[in-house]
Amino acid sequence: MIWTSLDSWIVIAAALAGASAALVGAFLVLEKMSMMGDAISHAVLPGIAIAFILTGSRVGGPVLVGAAGFGVLASMLVHVVRRSGRLDDGAAMGVVFTVLFAVGLILIEQAARHVDIHPDHVLFGSVELVPLTVVEIGSMVIPRGVAVLAVVLFVDLVVVILFFKELRLVTFDPALATTLGFNATWLHYLLMTLVALTTVAAFEVVGSILVIAMLVVPGAIAHLLTRRLAPFLLVSVASAVLAAAIGHVAAITVPLRFGFEDTNTAGAMATVLGLLFFTALLVAPERGLLTRAWTMLARRMIVRTQDVLGLLARASERSDGDGLSVNEFRTVHRSPFAARATGLRVGLMLSRIRGFVRREHGRYRLTERGRAAARRVLRVHRLWERFFHDVGKVGLIDLHPAADYLEHYTDAELRDELEKEFAGTDTDPRGNPLP
């Protein structure tokens, strides 16, 4: 890999574009308007094309103004079409943005006669060309695209910081905002203007479709990881910046491994964002799919172990310390758990690993540690039976299943409460002693 200052500028441009898109996009995700970003990013095209044709330049003020104008126009058109046609949001957006985008593409084709512009630039962006046009600011020579993106990011940041409280209110509790007499409409259009502005600035870097990845995916990642607005924005921006760096490195290294030449950074950046999202989807604390599966598995393992201990504790009340063979487990309580061979085997294995149970001549016996743990399980079980019988007036036949379930979900605090409640008692409702 050969890294030059061009590469650094590309990463900086991509990171700036990603950061500003992720910042405003976070609000789109939170307000469930992600596809509005899609609609706006397509609909600004005619504005850009007209500015091209009029000024002959690909970047600069007129392009930004034209694009922002068409962005706001598009969100108004969506509103009008939806209302007069009584269509849903999706259909109204679908009509408006496809038609505007089509008009834009045709106009670009016309503009291409005068300006060096190809529809590919619009669709995929051309971050590779960003370092080639430079401006001088003071004594620094920096790419023009980078300067524009830095300004846009600054504007986005200032607006978000200034209106942080208002945005939080409108995003998380629109009903409360209305009750407080707060008018959300102007904030909505302010946000739409920011989206349009950011989209256009990011256009040169990532193109009209991949900008949606920058708008939506970082917000979605944050959505999986946090519930509070400030960390949400931080995670969102951080993942976009991270994706910019990894994306560019991947674009210039990964294809080479397969015997191809390098590919475009924007596509790789979107792919990396997708992978980051997928990772978060799997391993996010609390909400990740694997995290949730692991929590459930761990819980089931505890339940299995406790079931084994409970059965052994009951058995040892009858035949002192003799233990049980696998077959005898099934006779102890006609327990539905022991009737399933695999469940029982897993429980036995886990109990042996934890050192609660040892196996001698095909019989399973409690160890010293196991005896204490088993006594605790059985005691909690019988305390619950006591509770349901005395307080809940549950009949004797129905006591066992409820207690059997709750015994696994009783923490120390709840156990203390039960102990306090039945301090004077030393038997369960059937007369069995509390161990």
Binding site: V29, K32, M33, S34, M35, G37, D38, V81, S84, G85, R86, L87, D88, G90, A91, A92, M93, G94, V95, T98, V99, F101, A102, V103, L105, I106, E109, P119, L123, F124, G207, I209, L210, I212, A213, L215, V216, V217, G219, A220, H223, L224, A251, P255, F260, E261, D262, T263, N264, A266, G267, A268, A270, T271, L273, G274, F277, L281, R287, L289
Partner: protein, 445 residues
């Protein structure tokens, strides 16, 4: 010269044009038909995610075909790739909405942009490959009806025809699914499978449209004709037919124009043509069109104003204030917020309708027809006022206003019901339950 070529294309003089036209027009029809159900199921943007998700499939299939040594430009292979990754994208949307708390449109945004990004990265590789004709892939992004070869066009057209036939056969089932899925499920219809079938048809149209319209805009052939048809009718069957017609005309125009100007991106031209048809529907549609709505609205307003004026004229006569022109004008303009100019204009209109005439003393008098009409309106108003007073416990000070807002839309059936509710008046005109002359006008009568 130009005109001549234009006519040749429109008249389908060339065999090749005819075949391409056959393909795109059938595609337009199929898009309209399937799109109608998609639109009414409120899933319009799902097709957008599917079409964008098709890019890595197309490019991947191309790379694979090049790797095994075939040229890579075989349409069925590329479409198969598109189908696989499009379905994969749809599956991802469903998984994300099912397993996270993200809203569906976030899931759509994620899938369409990430898949498209991955496709763009693959495309970047292909474009730098020596010997591979990556140019052909461009037609999948921007669409190119003109460069379609004959067998491709035939394939697309026939497949679209199959989709149309399927949709026609399942019309009843799809209607049920669209309007009342809960009822359909309760009635024992396999709602899940029908929904899956409908979505498969959507995916089929999306994939078939890639070559002609291109990835970015292909959803337009599903959404735009159906959305246009929505402005013309409230009946599903008519909507399907209108959408099919609009789809066909849009594709026909778009293909013709792009045959004449091959430099323009064909997909964009077709979508722009569809967009023009949408604009026409939006403005002039017979059911929800904007102009139609405006005309209806202004008609209602004019009728309301006319009825108000007639009633006020009658009440003026009833109060005995119609002997002097000035006094009459004062009464009329005080009763509503009419400026003297509007008042004079409306009176002139009533004169033209011969409901009112002017006697030499310059004040207006109701003609026989005019009085009859005015009495009918006044009677409706007062029946409603009495009804409000006696049955809805409305205060006397409020009944005038309450009746005002409803009297213009009372039908014969409702008036008959009112007569039954307050039967003591029979067919006569009741006295006004409140004073007609307001204080500042001074005591009249």
């Amino acid at each position: 010269m130009m005109m001549d070529r234009f006519m040749r294309v429109l008249m389908l003089a060339d065999y090749n044009t005819r075949i391409v036209m056959f393909g795109t027009v059938l595609l337009g029809i199929a898009g309209g038909v399937v799109g109608t159900f998609l639109l009414l199921r409120r899933r319009a943007l799902l097709a957008d995610a599917v079409s964008h998700a098709a890019l890595p499939g197309v490019v991947g299939a191309f790379l694979l075909a090049v790797a095994v040594g075939t040229g890579g430009r075989s349409l069925p292979v590329l479409l198969a790739g598109a189908l696989v990754s499009g379905l994969l994208g749809m599956g991802c949307v469903m998984l994300i909405t099912r397993f996270t708390r993200l809203s569906q449109d976030a899931a759509l945004g994620i899938v369409l942009s990430v898949f498209f990004g991955f496709g763009a990265a693959l495309l970047g590789i292909v474009q730098k490959m020596r010997g591979a004709q990556a140019a052909g892939l461009n037609s999948f992004i921007y669409g190119s009806a003109a460069s379609m070869i004959r067998t491709d066009a035939l394939l697309i057209g026939l497949a679209a025809a199959v989709v149309v036939v399927l949709a026609a056969l399942l019309f009843k089932e799809f209607r049920l699914l669209t309007f009342d899925p809960a009822f359909a499920a309760g009635d024992g219809w396999p709602v899940g499978r029908l929904d899956l079938l409908l979505m498969s048809l959507v995916v089929a149209i999306t994939v078939l449209g890639l070559q002609a319209v291109g990835i970015v805009l292909v959803i337009a052939i599903l959404i735009v004709p159906a959305a246009s048809a929505r402005f013309w009718t409230e009946s599903l069957l008519v909507m399907v037919l209108v959408a099919a017609l609009i789809g066909a005309v849009g594709s026909y125009l778009g293909t013709a124009i792009s045959a004449l100007a091959p430099r323009l991106p064909a997909g964009a031209v077709i979508v722009a043509a569809l967009g023009a048809l949408f604009l026409v529907s939006f403005l002039f549609g017979g059911s929800r069109g904007v102009v139609r709505a405006m005309i209806t609205r202004s008609r209602v307003i004019r009728r309301t104003v006319r009825q108000n004026l007639l009633r006020v004229l009658y009440e003026c006569e009833e109060s005995g204030l119609d002997h002097d022109a000035d006094e009459q004008m004062r009464y009329l303009s005080a009763s509503r917020r009419w400026t003297p100019r509007t008042l004079r204009r409306m009176l002139r209109r009533l004169e033209r309708e011969q409901l009112v005439y002017r006697v030499p003393g310059e004040q207006r008098q109701l003609t026989r027809t005019g009085r009859y009409e005015a009495m009918r309106i006044t009677r409706n108003h007062r029946l409603w006022e009495v009804y409000l007073l006696e049955h809805a416990d409305t205060a006397a000070a409020h009944v005038d206003h309450g009746a005002d807002s409803i009297e213009h839309v009372l039908g014969d059936a409702l008036v008959a019901e009112l007569e039954e509710a307050v039967p003591r008046f029979g067919k006569t005109l009741p006295q006004s339950p409140h004073a007609l002359v307001q204080e500042e006008q001074g005591g009249g009568s």
